[in-house]
Symmetry: C3
Subunit: 492 residues, 3 copies
Amino acid sequence: MMQNNEKTPLLSRLSPNSNSNSEAPLLSLSGPVVTIIGSGDFSRSLSIRLVSCGFRVVVGSRDPSRVAEGLFPDGVVLGSQREAVKAADRLVFAAVYPEHYHTLLDLREALAGKVLVDVSNASTVGGEGPSNAERLAEMFPRSTVVKGFNTLSAWALQVGAHDGSRQVLICSDCSSSKASVLQLARSLGFTPVDLGGLFAARTIEEAPLILFPSWGRPVLTTFLLFLFFYGYSFLRQVLLPYLDKGRNNFYQLPLVLVNQTLPSVALVTLALVYLPGILAAVLQLARGTKYRRFPVWLDHWLCSRKQLGLLSFLCVVLHAVYSMCLTLRRSSGNAAQVRAPVFTQVDQMVWRSDLYLSSGILGFGALTLVAITSLPSVGNSLNWREFTFVQSGLGYAALTLSVAHTLFFGWDFAFDPSSYSYFLPPVYMLALILPCVVLVGRLLLFLPCLTSRLTKIRRGWESRQHRPKLSQELGSGSGSTQVDSPRAFGDV
Amino acid sequence: MMQNNEKTPLLSRLSPNSNSNSEAPLLSLSGPVVTIIGSGDFSRSLSIRLVSCGFRVVVGSRDPSRVAEGLFPDGVVLGSQREAVKAADRLVFAAVYPEHYHTLLDLREALAGKVLVDVSNASTVGGEGPSNAERLAEMFPRSTVVKGFNTLSAWALQVGAHDGSRQVLICSDCSSSKASVLQLARSLGFTPVDLGGLFAARTIEEAPLILFPSWGRPVLTTFLLFLFFYGYSFLRQVLLPYLDKGRNNFYQLPLVLVNQTLPSVALVTLALVYLPGILAAVLQLARGTKYRRFPVWLDHWLCSRKQLGLLSFLCVVLHAVYSMCLTLRRSSGNAAQVRAPVFTQVDQMVWRSDLYLSSGILGFGALTLVAITSLPSVGNSLNWREFTFVQSGLGYAALTLSVAHTLFFGWDFAFDPSSYSYFLPPVYMLALILPCVVLVGRLLLFLPCLTSRLTKIRRGWESRQHRPKLSQELGSGSGSTQVDSPRAFGDV
Amino acid sequence: MMQNNEKTPLLSRLSPNSNSNSEAPLLSLSGPVVTIIGSGDFSRSLSIRLVSCGFRVVVGSRDPSRVAEGLFPDGVVLGSQREAVKAADRLVFAAVYPEHYHTLLDLREALAGKVLVDVSNASTVGGEGPSNAERLAEMFPRSTVVKGFNTLSAWALQVGAHDGSRQVLICSDCSSSKASVLQLARSLGFTPVDLGGLFAARTIEEAPLILFPSWGRPVLTTFLLFLFFYGYSFLRQVLLPYLDKGRNNFYQLPLVLVNQTLPSVALVTLALVYLPGILAAVLQLARGTKYRRFPVWLDHWLCSRKQLGLLSFLCVVLHAVYSMCLTLRRSSGNAAQVRAPVFTQVDQMVWRSDLYLSSGILGFGALTLVAITSLPSVGNSLNWREFTFVQSGLGYAALTLSVAHTLFFGWDFAFDPSSYSYFLPPVYMLALILPCVVLVGRLLLFLPCLTSRLTKIRRGWESRQHRPKLSQELGSGSGSTQVDSPRAFGDV
């Protein structure tokens, strides 16, 4: 396994325990020697992990004597950088800061033919010039450079095996070196993902610097909706009455207005989860084929549905909590001004308030079940039809119950002219527009003619202008092409 | 790796990047070529996954020119079906609809000796005739057919590596071909499960069509319990007073009756979680051995315990929410008829209401902790003794606290003859029967004589009529047989 | 694969199905034969798992005729112990109780050269004498003993593949045998962890006997805090008024006092989560280096932060529920004595109660998000910067909002001399001490001079007394050593 014949004193410390029963194993890792240059936190955590998975580890440090006692686990051999590199079978981790790469130039001959793994992060997003991995590849032309392992924290490296697989992004120009590193990542219990050649190194290096990349737009959307509805309520209920009649409703700002805004935001966001599916279905029906790509904005929207749904759920939870707290406040004078349903012993009002509460609770329950299946471990235990049933079926049920909840809430007052203060409708009416559009659209898509045509399109049928030239091999006049297994209706 | 010597123009596009540092790798996958026939969604998602895990992919389509630009990732070579099959090392995925299998018959010679992976689903449950995989095996007698990968949605295939392992059901008549597919599934980050020979193909094909197979009976049970208790409450509190005295209590239907039914259902369902364990223990004690199989109905009941527990938890949560909402309604007239505890300043009543609320909250908290450990990721981070401690210990605590909650609620009124309207006891009394049976049974099983005998039986001891013939090797008179590691008491 | 040439009748039953298409597989497991001695629950579950992952299994029992029909799955060959051991390729599981190891002594020659896997647990913690694995190694000197698989319950073995990876602790003196068992564990879908030589066997054997090892001290801390605050409240609000004025406040015991204690415990526990980070930062600043190890108590404290945080969250949840229930009780007389905010129409009080409720709800929401990311599956889907952002950033937000909540609650009364009954301050004032210390300390650490110095130290800079001798290779006067990638500030 050594690249040269001489067995250094270092390597002799790595010989396996002599054992009278050792035979050529049938299934076994040969316990290869992995070298780590550098003796910091990352080096320490990686060595702990490698040792616990059966590898032999050599750590190379500039000054081995200065490394603290007990910092590295038993089984790790400490040596100078040159000794460590010579002892490596193939893989050498460069666990040093990018600004110190030049200090390794002395080891160029020792590193020739080995695989150098670059574990550094970028310092800023969108920087100029080559990535760290590309700079390293230029400095060491006789070694192959593989980029990887930089997205893990030292702590995850150390305990990761206990908490399940974690994603490790790998890229390299040399496929055999990349394959070695992929295999090592799997042996350590990670899930490696191959991102291609070394040009992808910058993306990998910037990955840890970007927080929650898929949440940016949904959070912005939800925030803008919140500002809109809060501003509308503020205008209609606080500012205009103040300017017009001098009434002081500013006490409503922290709780009451927030509790009107939250359900509106939740309703609209939940509608935004199901609207792109309907738009996509309409697009497929209009085009008569499913093979043309969607517009980019629709693609992004379809990928954000999970985040929008979870934000909607968050707003619903806060709305439920705020509602309870508001009702607990026994300021009856304030309550009257918020147009809360007046609880009297009139049977009709009791029926309406019970329906309003019931539909709200059941809608909340349905949305909670959808949110629970969004947890990675729960979602993974369902097959895709079950997952679609919950996310799509229960989700539409939650949307319908929420619309019913809002309609029951506002039923009395929608026809009362006094609701339209300053010719502005109550905020819940604005919130109902988009959900009703979504529900009506979905019902329309249930029409037999549309349903059958959409199912045909999704099974691969194409309308006349898209039909392919009939060749000998097709042999049928239906024009159906060979496509893959069917998906549940409603899923794009 | 090619089955014939000629290297097609297709395959030349698959040669790895030339690299001056390429050496024979010590640990590496040889990056075999996997072929997919078909160019639909499944084919696309599978190719994305294969490429990201380091495989080389060739996709065969009837008309490669019609495949949309950018549909397949870089690294995938597109060609005709014949070219693609010839380029394959061994594995060929048939990603076409079953009704189009006959169009592949031209490729019979090219497919000879290769492994054909059938990824189709059944169209209906319980159909007649051979499964799709068996039909494919008849059509291609010189290839081996492996059934698999049909339970994953295209989306899960594409992103699955990030969310943890997913189950893939595999079956085949040829064990070496099956082993290849098992290994491939593992390399892609899935958890393959071997279901045996091709006779299991129908089961695998129908698997995606059956939603939540393990939840059917528990949901039915819970629903029937709900109907029973709701009907009983309706009869006793709405219908009989209406027929008898003309009192109109129909307003109680949406909220009040539901809030009496939910806790009853929750109590009985929670008791049903722990009852089979007690029955099993009694059966083992009566039979004097643990080696006789349980009756089938008891086996099924034992396997449904998790689902019953989660349904009970759902009912408890809804009950808590409904209770809060009901109390918020300031209809004092209605409240009096529901026999809610009357909150006065009488010390005794305050003590009783506080105990009633406290026990309810603590029981709810205990059941929440049990529900949290039912989440797959949390349950997996506990070892089996910790898991048993929570599920069994905290579960029994939750049951006891719930019974206490109900007893405190009803204490005053159980001895008041006016509770027994129309000679029917209040609904919570009915609900208490089964939980009390369970708790008493559990306490009885704590008796020293029964405990020691049961532990002996679970360690393998057998009573006289079951004792084996003493052979020379046994060498002891106790009749203990060699069995496995002990389980926690209370677990079957 | 057989150790001797003769092919027993047993093994002939294991030959793969004859198949005209069988060729030498490119990627395949050779389906090695694994033997299990013993026919109890563990043996049964392990065989089910092995068969479902493509292995061939032979089970050796003392009396194969006594094994119940259908107990073992198809594909498992049942034989005598001697036959089974002879049929094994290499791995033999000893699934028998430790007290029965001596009955296997006849098989010493048959077991020579094979790997014996010991799956037993210890019966007590902290016992004397050699571990079971070491005793087994003494009895079978010509076989190698590997300790493992004892931490899994039979049920987890059987279904584990569906629920994700589970930890398996392995140790052995022979590294090639250990490597075989590590590989087998991975093939079965588990995550093996190598704990070194056979001296670690006792630790592994005792592991299942210790429940929740990392929760012991945090739970004790939280419980002691609960006792302290409850006792203080009891003294101040129940006992002293009773002794002093004969007032009977004992009704407060189950709900009111608990609802004062819970938020105090939650506040202090949450402060205890972030205090060690600040102490560690101060220690690093004072010492001028990050390479000296922390004191042992600080290390343990840092490792308990997750558990303390979850316990704090539990107390917050219970506090929210208790608060709702208490407010629902319409005992106005009692309410007055608890110094709840009096809800009048005075604008100031309405503002204060709204702020108090708002900050409480938002702090609760923030802490819920932190708790959700503590779920293993959710935490694993975040990279470490996102994880730190939530746990550290949102956590400090939750702490700040909770302190604000408490300050708004008590604002009116802190300056009212009547609050200080018997010269004892209200309990929430005691609870505020530690959180305020933590928040002030954190703000101080934001000072530019301290921040820059701490970042330098964490990147490896060392103050003068720790600086290493400048060698030729360093070539710079800054004294920076080569260290690993930077961590987020605030993390140790």
